[in-house]
Structure formats: structure tokens, C-alpha cells
């Protein structure tokens, strides 16, 4: 990871963390505010609803009171008391209930027995204990019906005016789906009624079980009724209101703030649970809108931070990158690399120092090159002088002999003359040979590349030197070649010359005889050719200087052979190295690029 990337990441993370922290704090506060608002709204609606419920209770009490004051009812009560015959009034309650739009109405005689019942007409003559314990206020009661079921009702009791002994009326409205539908609800409010009975007839301390079929809303079975189970059980178990937020679907907007209100009878037993649920859709949508804005601002902030970080990182890292690039160039040999100097900060000081350093390096290299050039010339002159001096000395002796021989008799002079001319010719030939080698080294031809197989080049060298080896000391030439093809793009003559040089060197290194091994193999994308001898080997110092031109370990070598080999290998984009230990022979390793295709 580059410095710029690191800086960018660091800056971005720092700014993003700061923005996220601010956003989280803001959102937390928003949520708290919305939840408080949610609670306030729910409490308001629940209070409104409870007041409406109380109004309904008052309406029921008023309706019963009105019936109790009717002339017709007073006459009925009078006749009932006077005659004691309840039979004529069997259907009276049904008529009165129908007129007053009540679901339940019973006329109860002075003896406490039902005279007429609207909800269960066949129940006449049976006692109605509720009239004894009830007050003027409306109360909840579970009423048995003819079909064996029970219904929850909001009841009130009133004595028929003027009746003595008292004839009472007990009546009310059924708390069911229709009752809920008749209650005024604000948009988004949903009311439900859970009316399951249990065996004890009251509330279970643990809230009892929950059966969704007993939970109805204004339009039938309460949708998503099972979600209310916890609240309803809590309200039934505790006898107090229970509130909570219910998520109807995984969508947060589809949630309600619900309150379960236990409805109790006069003994305090929970007969039913009324639920008031306020949709949180609008609230959640508003909250989500605020959240979306906050997220947008945060995202924008983070984006701006990243852009700013990019600019900062670029500004901070650019001089360093330029320095690094320049350093790489210097390392690659381009000592003239310079970096621009901007400002007066530490990086600019570093840049100036770098530029000064490269200038110094370049100057030193120039001086080194000049001194090396002088040294090379000196070495060349020394070599040339040394090489030329050897043949010159016999030439001088021969010419001096020839000059002295002029004084000899002609026969002896002729013999000396012939010997001297032969010697002169031979030494002149040596001089030519020396000069030719120096000439060859200076005129290395450009390789003409063609596709060849390394095995062919090696075979050619082996054939040549296997035959020549018979003349000198016992030298065995061995080849170890891989079966697979080892194609090369190479100049066959130059490669042959390089390999021949190596074989000749190997032969020279084994004056007592030995084995020259030429091996080749595919090594990845290269072809590796190894030429090994079993001679005396070389010291590490000798190995280091081996490819230096004019360096030789032989008594009569020019020091150009291996330099030529290295030149040929380099011209083929290859490398050459030597592996040797003193007394254990030497191995030259040529690695050439394998031809493609």
C-alpha cells in the first residue's frame, strides 16, 4: 500500500469516524424525541378513547334510565306488582330493547327473577343476581346466551320509577365487533377486543393463554392479532394497562404503538382486554425522512472528507513519491535524476539534499569513469607492451645473431640466415596473431538471430573437440542433454564460438587430462547450458575477476576469451556465471531466453 493510500485511508477513516459519531448522536437524539412524541400521542389517543368509552357507559346508563321512566314501563311495573303475573310481559324486554337500540335488556321482578329477557327470552323466571350488586354506573358483565355462548356487555341497572316493591331493568350493549365499529377512532387508530373466557371466569395471574379467534376488531378477526398476545397477556395478568410497540411486518413503518386496557367486572376480575393501537407509519416515515437527511449529510460529509483527504494526501505524498521515484532512477543507474524543490519545509530540504547527492554522485562517477578509462588505457598499453615484448625479444636476438653471422663463413651464415628468417617469420606471425586477437575483440559482430536448438549447437562443439582431443592430453568430452527441445533465438556461429571458448578454457585448465561435461536443460523460460571441467578450479577472487577484459590466469592468455564469451551471451540477452571451488573444477553456466512458440 502506497504512502498516498495509507494517508488517504487514515484521513478517510478519521473523518468518517467523526462524522459517524456525530450522526449516531444526532440519530439517537432524534429517536428519543420521536419515541417521546410517540408515547405522548399514544397516551393522548388512549385517553381520548377511554373518555369515549366512558361516554358510551354513560349512554348505556342514560338509555336504561330513560326506559325506566317511560309511562309504558311504569304501567307494566304497576301491573306486575299488582297482579304478580309476569306472563303478559314476556316479550316486553325485546320490544323495549329494540326501541332503545340495546342488545341486552331484562325486566327483573320484585322477587329478583327475570320477567322478560331480550337476549334470552326463554330465561324468564330465572334469577338475575346482577341487579342486586350493581350501581347506577355502567359496569361490565359477561352474559350467557341461549346458544350456550357468552357475550361481553356494558350494562347498567335502573329501578322502574315509582315501582314498589322495585321492578328493575338491567340492560346494555354488546361489546363486540359492532361496538368497536361504532366507536369514533382517528385515522390510523385501530381498536380491538379480546374476550376469551377461562375456566375460573376471571383473569389468570399469568395472563392465561391467547387464542387469536377471540380477538376481534371492527371488521372481524383482528389482523395480525397474534402480535398483540404479549400485551394482552400482560394486561390480563397484571390487571393494568400494558403498552408497547408492535411490529406487524419486518417493515418498521408497519408498526403500531399499542396499549392493552383490561376491562374488569365489579369484582375486579378481568373480563376482556381492549386494545388501542396507533399506527406509527407516519411517525416512522417522518423519522426515516429525518434519518435519510442525516444519512445524506453524513454521506456527503464523508465524501467531501475523502476528496479533501485525497487532496491532502496528494499534497503531502507527492514530494515523497517524487523522491522515491528519483531514488529508484538513481538505483537504476540514472544518476542525473532530480526532484523539484517546492516550499521550505522538511520535504523540500530533503529534496534539495537528494539533488545535491545525485549531483555529487554524478560528478564522482564522471571522475571514476575518467580514471577507469586512464587505467584501462594503461592496462591495455601494459598488455600490449607485454604481449609485443615477448615476440620482440626473439626478433631482437635473431636480428643481432644475423648481424653477427655476417662475419661467419657463408655456409654457416646461410645456416644462421635460414634459421633467423624462420624465427623472424614465426615471431612476426605471433605478433600478427596478437594484433588479430585485439582486433577481433574490438570488432565483435552484431548477432544474426535464428531459431536453433541448443542441442544442435552443443553437438557441434562436442563433435569438434572430441576429435581434437585425441592430439593432446587425454580429455573426454561428455554431453548431458534433456530429451525435450530447447529452442533458442541465437546466432549459431557466435554461440558456437562462445561454447568453443569455454571448452578450450576447460581443456587449458586440465593439462593432465580430464573430463569436459556439457549439459543443457530447460529452466523455466530459459535454457541453461553448463560447461564443467575437472581441473584445479579457481579461487573466489579469480572468479570475481574472470570476465574482466585482459584478465587471465593462463601464462600466455590474452584475457579476452571469456570477455568475448560474456559479450556474446549479453548480446543474446543472456547471463553467464561461474561456479568453482579450488581443486574441484569449474562450471560455467550460460542462461539464454527460451525461444517462444
Amino acid at each position: 500500500m502506497s504512502l498516498r493510500q495509507k494517508l488517504l485511508l487514515l484521513f478517510s477513516l478519521t473523518v468518517a469516524a467523526a462524522v459517524a459519531a456525530v450522526a449516531w448522536t444526532v440519530l439517537l437524539r432524534i429517536r428519543q424525541v420521536f419515541e417521546q412524541r410517540d408515547r405522548d400521542e399514544t397516551a393522548l389517543f388512549v385517553n381520548q378513547f377511554q373518555r369515549e368509552f366512558q361516554h358510551r357507559s354513560a349512554d348505556v346508563a342514560a338509555a336504561i334510565d330513560r326506559i325506566a321512566g317511560q309511562e309504558r314501563v311504569r304501567n307494566m311495573a304497576f301491573e306486575l306488582v299488582q297482579s304478580g303475573d309476569a306472563a303478559p310481559f314476556l316479550s316486553e324486554a325485546q320490544t323495549l330493547a329494540q326501541d332503545a337500540r340495546l342488545d341486552f335488556l331484562e325486566v327483573v321482578g320484585p322477587d329478583g327473577n327475570i320477567v322478560s329477557s331480550a337476549q334470552w327470552p326463554a330465561r324468564f323466571g330465572y334469577p338475575e343476581p346482577a341487579v342486586r350488586e350493581a350501581t347506577r354506573n355502567a359496569f361490565l358483565k359477561r352474559e350467557e346466551l341461549a346458544d350456550g355462548s357468552t357475550a361481553l356487555g356494558l350494562f347498567a341497572v335502573q329501578t322502574v320509577r315509582g315501582s314498589e316493591p322495585a321492578v328493575k331493568l338491567i340492560g346494555g350493549v354488546r361489546m363486540d365487533q359492532a361496538f368497536l365499529a361504532d366507536l369514533p377512532v382517528v385515522p390510523g387508530m385501530q381498536v380491538g377486543l379480546y374476550t376469551e373466557t377461562n375456566s375460573s371466569g376471571g383473569d389468570a395471574q399469568d395472563g392465561g393463554t391467547f387464542a387469536e379467534k377471540h380477538f376481534v376488531g371492527p371488521e372481524g378477526t383482528m389482523p395480525g392479532g397474534a402480535k398483540y398476545a404479549g400485551l394482552i397477556k400482560a394486561a390480563r395478568g397484571s390487571g393494568h394497562d400494558a403498552s408497547g410497540i408492535l411490529y406487524m411486518t419486518p417493515d418498521r413503518a408497519d408498526s403500531v404503538a399499542a396499549t392493552a386496557i383490561p376491562l374488569k367486572n365489579s369484582a375486579g376480575g378481568v373480563l376482556a382486554v381492549l386494545t388501542v393501537a396507533i399506527s406509527r407509519g407516519g411517525l416512522v416515515a417522518e423519522q426515516q425522512q429525518v434519518k435519510a437527511t442525516a444519512y445524506g449529510v453524513a454521506a456527503g460529509g464523508i465524501l467531501l472528507a475523502i476528496i479533501f483527504s485525497l487532496w491532502i494526501a496528494a499534497r503531502v505524498s507527492r514530494p515523497v513519491e517524487e523522491l522515491a521515484r528519483a531514488a529508484e532512477e538513481v538505483a537504476g543507474g540514472s544518476w542525473d535524476a532530480r526532484v523539484p524543490v517546492r516550499g521550505r519545509d522538511e520535504v523540500s530540504v530533503l529534496a534539495r539534499s537528494f539533488n545535491h547527492m545525485t549531483e555529487q554522485l554524478e560528478n564522482q562517477r564522471e571522475r571514476l569513469v575518467q580514471s577507469e578509462r586512464v587505467a584501462a588505457w594503461r592496462e591495455l598499453a601494459r598488455r600490449l607492451a607485454h604481449e609485443l615484448k615477448n615476440p620482440l625479444f626473439p626478433l631482437q636476438l635473431t636480428v643481432e645473431n644475423l648481424a653477427r653471422a655476417r662475419l661467419l663463413p657463408p655456409a654457416e651464415f646461410d645456416e644462421v640466415f635460414n634459421e633467423s628468417t624462420q624465427t623472424l617469420s614465426m615471431e612476426i606471425g605471433n605478433l600478427k596473431k596478437i594484433i588479430g586477437r585485439f582486433s577481433d575483440f574490438s570488432k565483435m559482430p552484431k548477432p544474426e538471430l535464428e531459431r536453433i536448438d541448443a542441442k544442435d549447437a552443443i553437438a557441434r562443439v562436442r563433435n569438434l573437440y572430441a576429435a581434437a582431443a585425441e592430439d593432446g592430453p587425454r580429455i573426454e568430452v561428455v554431453t548431458k542433454l534433456e530429451n525435450a527441445a530447447m529452442p533458442l533465438m541465437a546466432d549459431p556461429e557466435l554461440l558456437h564460438r562462445a561454447l568453443s571458448n569455454l571448452v578450450l578454457n576447460a581443456k587449458d585448465a586440465m593439462p593432465e587430462g580430464g573430463t569436459v561435461t556439457i549439459s543443457a536443460r530447460n529452466a523455466g523460460s530459459n535454457v541453461e547450458i553448463r560447461v564443467s571441467d575437472t581441473g584445479q578450479g579457481m579461487t573466489p577472487e579469480e572468479c570475481e575477476r574472470l570476465f574482466t577484459p585482459y584478465y587471465t590466469t593462463k601464462q600466455h592468455g590474452t584475457g579476452l576469451g571469456l570477455a568475448i564469451v560474456q559479450s556474446v551471451v549479453a548480446d543474446h540477452a543472456g547471463t553467464i556465471s561461474v561456479e568453482s571451488r579450488e581443486g574441484q573444477g569449474a562450471t560455467f553456466v550460460i542462461s539464454l531466453p527460451r525461444a517462444k512458440g
Binding site: A87, P88, W120, A122, F124, A146
Partner: protein, 445 residues
């Protein structure tokens, strides 16, 4: 002198006017309203207007000829032959023949007939059975055996021989027209329009406003109708309200059936639901007919019921009730009574067959106790000839029947109707049905 003449003229005018009021007039349309179906048995008002039986009960309850002019039994009541009235034609003009009568009777009771075979031999219709049929003429007077021309009719209603024929049924009104060629003679009214399924309260309002001439007065509202000064005619208590019990499942246990009989509070039914009309009964035949009805106790005995039920778990029994709201209410009351004795009962709609308990009405017609008893048993699906003639034998027979607790008699009720001011000579037959053929309208000229 002038004074005497004037008085004489006034008396003569008054006499003429009185004579004009007593003489019935032909013509006009009689508007009848009922709460139920005009064709339903046993009291469907249209049945007796359109169809006749081979025999009939006169107003006094005596058996009299109708489409059959005579009958005689043979082989100790195993064979009966009925001689048809000649010249009788159905509404569509088809002549009444013994073959048509035999076909009508065969389809009327299907496989559960009181006879084994019925066949036509000339003008005779002959019934034969392996079992004696001592009361066959009386049974044939019941509304189930009215003679219809099968395979014909208007709107699916088969043609009959009665005083009126069906002309249509539109908007809840069944229209009948007078049968000019009725063997009994033409009825006074030209037509009758029967508005069906009309609540009793609305019927009474229509009667008061003149939109109806004859309306129903259920037994429990007879007193109320009289208090409202309606012109009410009612029959003696000829309808037996009884609880019919099955004998399958839990009810196969006779003790449970006896417990049910003991648990029912007849007095509440009689005093409150049926408003003290008719009479409480625990016997099939009413006191006026048998003379021994008082021997069957009518009081409720809850302790006995609980003792009889013992620890028997009867589960939940089903009960249905035929008829009007009063019958439904009576059924609910009985269910409440039974619940007190530990027997749970669930009400089911009237159309549900095979209810464990059925609250039904049985018609008691005629004045022959044995025939009436056999008719009740026949209606209850218990084919059994009742040939006992003495009261003691009949008592024993009825006791045996009742101790099986398949039928629990509860109340005998009258049937009642109210008529408007322009209706004259409205009477009830012996089975309590309206005899509209003899009624006329006063304002028709």
C-alpha cells in the same frame, strides 16, 4: 195512524236490511295473510282450499264423505274399499278416477304407508294390508292424503278438486281463483290472495288498515288479540305440542329419555310462552277426547330427572323446533330446563333432520280417540294400529306408548285467526284449518 204506518215502515226496512246482511254474496277477493308457507303441513291454508281428501271431518269432528261417497272394510280391517264420487273433475278438467286417486295416494306416502297396496278397481279404490287398518277412513281425512293430479299443475303445483285453483304466485302473494265446477259448489269469493311469510305484527297492522281480511292469531297472542278487540275465531285445543325424542346414541337409554320428560317445566310453557291458552297435558289425547288425561302428571320433577340421569354423560344433544317464534322460544326454554338437570342441549335449525329432540306440533282431528291416537302415532312415524275402543284400554295403550318416552306431550293449543269487518261466515274446520270456501265478503254487490 201515520205514526203506526211510519213505525211499520221502519220495522219493515230494518227487517229488509237485516235480511240483506244475512244473505252471503258471491264475488270479491279475500285477502289472507299468513306467517308461514301456505302449502306446509299440517295447517297450510292453501292445501284444503285446492285439494280434497277421500274423507273429511265435519265441523263437529265426525267423519264424513268427501271424494269418496262410501267405504267399507273386509277381512277384519285388512281390506278397505272406497267408492268414488261421480262427476268430479280436477281443475284442469281431468276426471277423477280411481286410478288417479290410487296414484296420488301412492306418491303421498311413498314406502311408509298405512297400507301395503292400493289399487283401482272400477270406481273403487281398494286398500289391502297384512296388518289391520281399523282407522283408515279417519287417516285418509288427514291433509297428507289429499288427492292431487300428479304430473300437472301451475307453477309446479298439481291440480286438485278443491273449491279454489292456483292462478299464480307473484311477489310473495299466492293467487287462487274460485273453482266454478267444484263438487261442493262454487265458493262465495271469486278469488283469494294469500300473502305469505308476513310477520304477525304486520298482519295485524294490515288487518287494521283494511289491507288484509283474514290474519293469523297464534295461540300465545289470542288474549292480546282479544284485548285489541280483533274479531277472533279460535279452535278448541287441537294442536298437541310435544317433544319427540330419538332413540339413537345417548337417547337409546330409556332413563335419559325419562329424565328429559321429568325435567320439562310444562307450566312455564303454558303460563308464559303460550300465555295460558289451551291446556297443559302429559297425554297424547286431550282431556275432552279421552277423559283420562288428568291421570298423567304434568308437574316438573327436577330431582327425579337428575336421579334418572344419574351419572350418565349424555354429551350435547341437538334439538330443533318446527314452527313459529313461540315454538322456538319453547324449545329454548326446554333446553334451559334440561340444562338444569345436567343435560346439555344445543339448538339446531328447524330444517336439520335427525335432531335428537324435536319440538313438534301434532294435529288432533276428529272426535274418535282411537283414530286420533293412531293419527298422532302415524305423524310421529310410529305405524301402529289403534283398535282399542274403551277408555280403559285406550289409557293402557297410551300409557304404554308414553312410558317409552319417545313422545313427551306438553301443551294442547288452539288455532286462531282474526278477520276484518267485511268477512262473513268465516269458520274453522275440525282440524283447525280455515274454511274459506264458505266465507264471503260483505261489501260485494
Amino acid at each position: 195512524m201515520f205514526r203506526r204506518l211510519a213505525i211499520s215502515l221502519l220495522l219493515a226496512g230494518a227487517a229488509l236490511d237485516a235480511g240483506a246482511r244475512t244473505r252471503p254474496h258471491y264475488g270479491g277477493t279475500l285477502h289472507v295473510e299468513i306467517a308461514g308457507d301456505p302449502w306446509e303441513r299440517p295447517t297450510g291454508v292453501a292445501r284444503r282450499l285446492v285439494y280434497d281428501g277421500l274423507t273429511q271431518f265435519d265441523a263437529g269432528g265426525a267423519l264424513s264423505p268427501a271424494l269418496a261417497v262410501g267405504w267399507e272394510q273386509d277381512n277384519n280391517f285388512h281390506r278397505w274399499q272406497f267408492r268414488l264420487r261421480l262427476g268430479v273433475r280436477f281443475h284442469d278438467g281431468t276426471a277423477l278416477t280411481s286410478a288417479v286417486v290410487a296414484a296420488s295416494l301412492a306418491t303421498s306416502c311413498g314406502s311408509a304407508c298405512p297400507w301395503d297396496a292400493v289399487k283401482a278397481v272400477g270406481p273403487l279404490v281398494i286398500f289391502t294390508s297384512d296388518n289391520p287398518m281399523p282407522n283408515l277412513p279417519a287417516l285418509l281425512a288427514s291433509d297428507q292424503f289429499l288427492i292431487a293430479l300428479t304430473g300437472t299443475g301451475n307453477g309446479g303445483t298439481a291440480a286438485g278438486t278443491g273449491p279454489f285453483q292456483v292462478t299464480g304466485f307473484n311477489n310473495g302473494v299466492l293467487s287462487l281463483a274460485a273453482n266454478e265446477n267444484c263438487w261442493l259448489g262454487r265458493p262465495f269469493a271469486d278469488a283469494i290472495e294469500i300473502r305469505v311469510r308476513r310477520p304477525v305484527r304486520d298482519q295485524w297492522l294490515d288487518l287494521g288498515s283494511g289491507h288484509a281480511d283474514v290474519v293469523e292469531v297464534p295461540a300465545e297472542q289470542l288474549r292480546q288479540a282479544q284485548q285489541q278487540r280483533l274479531s277472533v275465531i279460535s279452535s278448541p285445543p287441537i294442536t298437541l305440542v310435544a317433544l319427540e325424542l330419538g332413540d339413537a346414541g345417548a337417547l337409546a337409554n330409556t332413563n335419559l329419555r325419562a329424565a328429559i320428560a321429568a325435567a320439562v317445566d310444562r307450566s312455564a310453557l303454558y303460563n308464559v310462552i303460550f300465555q295460558k291458552q289451551g291446556e297443559v297435558t302429559a297425554s297424547l289425547l286431550p282431556q275432552r277426547m279421552s277423559g283420562y288425561s288428568f291421570l298423567f302428571p304434568t308437574e316438573r320433577d327436577l330431582n327425579k330427572a337428575q336421579a334418572l340421569r344419574g351419572g350418565l354423560a349424555a354429551g350435547t344433544l341437538t334439538m330443533s323446533a318446527d314452527g313459529d317464534a313461540a315454538m322456538q322460544l319453547a324449545a329454548q326454554r326446554i333446553a334451559l330446563n334440561l340444562r338444569e338437570s345436567g343435560i346439555n342441549v344445543q339448538m339446531v335449525p328447524a330444517g336439520v333432520r335427525h335432531a335428537d329432540l324435536m319440538l313438534r306440533r301434532f294435529t288432533i282431528s276428529g272426535n274418535d280417540p282411537a283414530a286420533a291416537l293412531e293419527r298422532i302415532l302415524w305423524d310421529a312415524g310410529q305405524l301402529a294400529a289403534v283398535s282399542e275402543q274403551s277408555s280403559a284400554d285406550l289409557y293402557k295403550r297410551e300409557r304404554t306408548i308414553l312410558e317409552n318416552y319417545r313422545i313427551i306431550p306438553l301443551v294442547d293449543l288452539p288455532l286462531g285467526y282474526a278477520s276484518g269487518p267485511r268477512v262473513r261466515d268465516l269458520r274453522l274446520r275440525a282440524d283447525g284449518s280455515l274454511d274459506l270456501a264458505g266465507a264471503s265478503l260483505e261489501d260485494v254487490r
